[in-house]
C-alpha cells in the first residue's frame, strides 16, 4: 500500500502547485482521492472533522441504486425474451439486459465525467462527486432501445445547460438526470414513447404489446398486468423504474443512512395517494379509475420520489419545505398523468416543476423565522421607547 502511495506521489509531482501541469491538477486529484482520502489537515475552524464527505454520501446513493439497476437489467432481458415468445433462463435474460444496459451506463459516465473534468480544469476547482449518481440515474430512466448517441447528447445537454451553466454542482435549479430525460423526451419523442421502445429489439418484430401500463391506460385499454407484477417490476418501462420492490430496498438504504430525505419520500407518497384517491372517487375515465395504490407502483412514480425528488440540491432545503415539496410532487404527478394523456409519465414533469418552485417554498418557510425576529425587534423597540 505504501509503495502505491509513493508511486502516486511521484506521478502527482508535475501536477502540484507551481509545476508545469498545475492546471490539470483537478483531473489527477479526482483519481487520487478515489484511492486515498488525502492527507489534508484542518487549517482553520474546528480542528476535528466528521468522517463523512461528499464522496461517501454519493457512493451510498449509488449503492442504493444497484438493486433497482440489477433488476432493471434482468427485466430488459425478461421483456425481450417473453415478448418474442422464446424460452430462456435467468442468466439469458440477465446477459441480454447487461449487453443492452451497460453500454448506456458507460456512455453516460464517459460523456458526463469528461465534461465535468473539463469544467473543473477550466474553473480550477476539484471535480465534484455528484455526477457519480447522475451518471447512473440517466441510463436508468431511459427506454432500453434509445440509441447511444442520444444518451450522449442528452447527458451533454444536462451537464452543460442543466448544471454547469448555473455554476456547477450545488448551484443547479433542475435535477440534472431529469433534465437529460426531459431533453430526450422532447427532442426524440419517437424514441421515448410509444409501444415499441420499452422492449429491446421490439422494432424488428411485429405484434408486440410492449406498452407501459400508463400508456395502455391513456389509450383507454385494459391493463394486462396484476398488482404483483406491477410491484415486482416484470412490466415494460424505463430500465430502472419498473420494480417498486427493489426501489424500496434502495429507499431503505437512503433512509437508514440518512442520505435521502424521508420527509420528501413520505410527502410524495402521501400526496400521490391522496390525489389518486380523489380521482378514484371521480372515476371519469380509465386513468382516473386506476386504483390509487396502483398509481404509486406503476410508471416512474416510485423511482422518481425515491431517487430524483430527494436530490438535495434541486429539492427544498428546509425541513418544512421538504414536506410541502414532497406532497406537491405526489399531487402534481398524478394530476399530470390523469389530465394530460400526451404525457402519461407525470413524475418527471412534476419533479422538474417543483424543482423550479423549491426555492420559493424555502423562501416562505424561512420567512416565518424572519417574521418572528422582526416581531421581537419591534416589541423590544416599543418597550424601550
Amino acid at each position: 500500500m505504501n509503495a502505491l502511495r509513493k508511486k502516486l506521489d511521484q506521478l502527482k509531482k508535475p501536477f502540484n502547485k507551481g509545476e508545469k501541469w498545475e492546471k490539470f491538477g483537478p483531473a489527477f486529484n479526482a483519481f487520487d482521492t478515489f484511492l486515498y482520502v488525502p492527507n489534508h489537515t484542518t487549517k482553520k475552524g474546528a480542528h476535528i472533522r466528521d468522517a463523512v464527505d461528499l464522496k461517501r454520501t454519493m457512493i451510498v446513493v449509488v449503492l442504493a441504486l444497484l438493486p433497482a439497476l440489477f433488476y432493471g437489467i434482468y427485466n430488459v432481458g425478461y421483456q425481450h425474451f417473453s415478448q418474442l415468445g422464446d424460452t430462456f433462463s435467468f442468466w439469458d435474460a440477465f446477459a441480454h439486459g447487461a449487453w443492452k444496459v451497460l453500454p448506456m451506463v458507460a456512455v453516460s459516465y464517459i460523456v458526463g465525467l469528461g465534461i465535468e473534468f473539463v469544467f473543473a480544469i477550466y474553473r480550477g476547482h476539484e471535480v465534484n462527486e455528484g455526477y457519480l449518481v447522475t451518471g447512473l440515474l440517466i441510463p436508468m430512466i431511459m427506454p432500453v432501445d434509445i440509441p447511444l448517441w442520444m444518451v450522449a447528447v442528452s447527458v451533454a445537454f444536462a451537464v452543460v445547460i442543466g448544471k454547469e451553466a448555473f455554476g456547477g454542482t450545488g448551484m443547479n435549479i433542475l435535477n440534472p438526470a431529469l433534465t437529460a430525460r426531459a431533453f430526450a423526451f422532447f427532442a426524440y419523442p419517437t424514441f421515448m414513447s410509444g409501444n415499441k421502445v420499452w422492449v429491446s429489439d421490439a422494432t424488428n418484430v411485429d405484434a408486440i404489446s410492449g406498452e407501459t401500463i400508463l400508456g395502455t391506460l391513456a389509450a383507454g385499454k385494459e391493463v394486462a398486468h396484476n398488482t404483483w407484477s406491477m410491484f415486482s417490476g416484470a412490466i415494460p418501462g424505463s430500465i430502472g423504474e419498473t420494480s417498486t420492490l427493489w426501489i424500496l430496498v434502495g429507499a431503505a438504504v437512503l433512509i437508514l443512512t440518512g442520505v435521502g430525505s424521508w420527509r420528501i419520500m413520505a410527502g410524495g407518497v402521501i400526496g400521490g395517494a391522496f390525489m389518486g384517491f380523489l380521482f378514484n372517487l371521480w372515476s371519469a375515465n380509465e386513468l382516473m379509475a386506476f386504483p390509487w395504490y396502483q398509481q404509486l407502483i406503476v410508471g416512474g412514480f416510485a423511482f422518481g420520489i425515491v431517487f430524483m425528488a430527494t436530490d438535495p440540491v434541486s429539492a427544498a432545503q428546509t425541513q418544512k419545505g421538504k414536506w410541502i415539496y414532497g406532497i406537491l410532487i405526489g399531487i402534481f404527478c398524478i394530476m399530470i398523468r390523469v389530465f394530460n394523456p400526451a404525457y402519461p409519465e407525470g413524475v418527471m414533469l412534476a419533479i422538474l416543476l417543483m424543482n423550479v418552485f423549491a426555492p420559493t417554498i424555502d423562501h416562505y418557510v424561512v420567512q416565518s423565522s424572519i417574521k418572528r425576529r422582526k416581531k421581537r425587534l419591534s416589541a423590544a423597540t416599543v418597550k424601550s421607547a
Binding site: 480542528h47 463523512v52 464527505d53 461517501r56 424561512v366
Partner: protein, 447 residues
C-alpha cells in the same frame, strides 16, 4: 428562581483523554506573552518599549480605536520582544518574567458601595476589561455601550472542555464578589446558566438569574443560552464573561491586585498528563505540557474552537483548555467507502460509529475529505439549537448581503456557534471563518 433551558439539537463528540479532576501548579514560565490576535478587532497601540520593566497589572498596550480599553501584563518582568507579522502587525508581546511577581496596587475596594461607573472605571484601569466581551460580534465590549443584560455560562459542553465549576473550585467567594461587581454594569439582569445535572455552588450564587441548562453541545455556548433567554435584537448589546474571569475580577476587588492565575484543563489523547494545571494567563505552553512530538497538534482552547499553537507558543488569553490531539497528515485508502473507518466519530449514519454512542474516540486533525460545493441539506440544522437557518445564513454571509444576514439572525450568532457545523458538514466548508468574516462586515457597515 430558575428557568430551565432544554437543548435537543446538537452533538456531543466523545473523545479520549478527558482531564482528571486533579489540580497541580505548573512550573512558572520564563516568558509570557499577550497576543493581540486573541482580541479580535483590536489594534494594539504599544505603551511599553522593548527592554522596559513592568509589574503585573501595568498597561502594555491599549486599543488604538478605543483608548479606554487597556491591556495589562499578567506578570512582572521585562518586555523582551514585540513579535510582528505581515504588515508589521503585532502578533505577540513577550515578557521575560521575574522569578516572583510584584504587583501594581489598585487598592482594595468595597463593591457594595461602588456605582456602576466606578466599577467600570476600575475594570478599565486594572486591565480586566478585556474579559468582558459583547454580543453581537463576539469582540471585546465597548465600555461606552449600555448592555441590556450580562450572561455567564457556567457549563462547558464542548469536547474535552474544562469543567468550569471544578476549575473555579475554591474561589467561590471571589466568584460571588465578581458577580456583584459586574452586575452593576447593566441596568438589566445578570444571567448565570448552570448544568442541570450537577447540584453545585453555582446554584447558590446570589444576585443572578439562574438557568438550568441540559442537552448536548452547544448547550454550553453562551450564545445559545442568550438566544433562549433574551435574544439580541438589531442594535442591542449584551455582555458575556467567562466564569473564571468573573473570579479574577472578584479577586481584583478583594486584594487590589490583578492576579491572572487560571486553572486550565490539559486534555486529549496525546496529553502525557490529562489533568488540571494552575498557571498565569499567557504562559508558555511547553512549561505546562512539556516537549511534545511533532505530530501532536497543540490547541489553545477546545478542539472545535481553539487556536493551533506551536510547542513553544503561548496559551491564549481566554483559553481554559489545552487540547492535544494527533495530527492527521496521513492518507487513508478507499476512505470513501461507507461503513469503513468507523473509528472516526461521525454524525452521519454512513459510518457505524452512531451505533456506539458512549464509545470514546481518538480523533486526529485530518479533514476526512476535501472541500466541495454545498450539496447535502438538513445536517447543519441538526446541530443548530437556535431559531436560525444555518445554511441560508451562511450563504448570505458568503454573498455579503447585509440586510438578509440581519433578517436571518447574524446578531445572535458567534463563530463558536457554528463550530459543530464545521465538524458535521459533508462539504467541509469553514463555517466559523465565514461567520467571523461576516461579523466583521457587520461591524464595519452597521457598527
Amino acid at each position: 428562581m430558575s428557568n430551565d433551558i432544554k437543548i435537543r439539537k446538537g452533538l456531543d463528540i466523545k473523545l479520549k483523554g478527558e482531564a482528571e479532576k486533579l489540580i497541580s501548579d505548573a512550573p512558572r514560565s520564563k516568558t509570557f506573552a499577550i497576543k493581540p490576535t486573541d482580541f479580535h478587532g483590536v489594534t494594539p497601540k504599544m505603551i511599553v518599549k522593548e527592554g522596559e520593566s513592568v509589574k503585573a497589572g501595568d498597561i502594555i498596550f491599549y486599543s488604538k480605536y478605543n483608548e479606554k480599553v487597556k491591556f495589562v501584563s499578567p506578570v512582572s518582568g521585562t518586555l523582551k520582544e514585540i513579535k510582528r507579522g505581515a504588515k508589521r502587525r503585532i502578533l505577540e508581546v513577550i515578557i521575560e518574567a521575574d522569578t516572583a511577581d510584584t504587583y501594581k496596587e489598585f487598592g482594595q475596594k468595597d463593591v457594595a458601595t461602588m456605582s456602576g461607573e466606578e466599577v467600570k472605571q476600575h475594570l478599565l484601569d486594572s486591565g480586566c476589561w478585556p474579559f468582558v466581551k459583547q454580543r453581537p460580534y463576539d469582540i471585546v465590549a465597548n465600555p461606552d455601550d449600555a448592555p441590556k443584560a450580562i450572561f455567564i455560562s457556567g457549563l462547558a459542553t464542548a469536547p474535552l472542555a474544562a469543567d468550569v465549576e471544578f476549575a473555579i473550585g475554591k474561589r467561590k467567594e471571589d466568584f460571588q464578589l465578581g458577580i456583584e461587581a459586574i452586575s452593576k454594569l447593566t441596568s438589566g439582569k445578570t444571567h448565570l446558566s448552570i448544568d442541570k445535572r450537577s447540584a453545585s455552588f453555582f446554584s447558590e450564587v446570589k444576585g443572578v438569574q439562574i438557568h438550568k441548562v441540559s442537552g448536548p453541545h452547544p448547550a454550553g455556548n453562551v450564545g445559545v443560552q442568550i438566544h433562549h433567554i433574551d435574544p439580541v435584537n438589531a442594535g442591542e448589546r449584551v455582555w458575556v464573561i467567562n466564569p473564571e474571569d468573573v473570579a479574577i475580577i472578584g479577586s481584583l476587588f478583594r486584594t487590589g491586585k490583578f492576579d491572572a492565575t487560571r486553572v486550565v484543563a490539559v486534555a486529549g489523547s496525546e496529553a502525557p498528563k490529562a489533568q488540571y494545571f494552575r498557571f498565569k494567563i499567557g504562559s508558555n505552553v511547553a512549561d505546562v505540557v512539556g516537549q511534545l512530538p511533532a505530530n501532536v497538534r497543540i490547541i489553545s482552547g477546545d478542539v472545535l474552537t481553539g487556536d493551533k499553537i506551536a510547542n513553544d507558543g503561548y496559551v491564549g488569553y481566554y483559553s481554559n483548555t489545552i487540547s492535544l490531539i494527533p495530527e492527521g497528515n496521513t492518507y487513508r485508502m478507499f476512505g470513501w467507502l461507507p461503513f469503513k473507518d468507523n473509528n472516526i466519530p461521525s454524525m452521519s449514519r454512513t459510518s457505524l460509529s452512531w451505533l456506539f454512542p458512549n464509545k470514546k474516540y481518538t480523533v486526529d486533525t485530518n479533514l476526512n475529505g476535501e472541500e466541495r460545493a454545498l450539496v447535502v441539506t438538513g445536517e447543519m440544522e441538526k446541530v443548530m439549537p437556535m431559531d436560525v437557518y444555518p445554511m441560508q445564513l451562511l450563504k448570505e454571509c458568503m454573498a455579503g448581503n447585509i440586510e438578509k444576514m440581519e433578517n436571518l439572525g447574524i446578531y445572535e450568532v458567534a463563530p463558536e456557534d457554528f463550530a459543530l457545523i464545521d465538524y458535521v458538514n459533508t462539504s467541509k466548508i469553514e463555517a466559523q471563518v465565514i461567520i467571523r468574516e461576516a461579523l466583521d462586515i457587520m461591524i464595519k457597515e452597521v457598527g
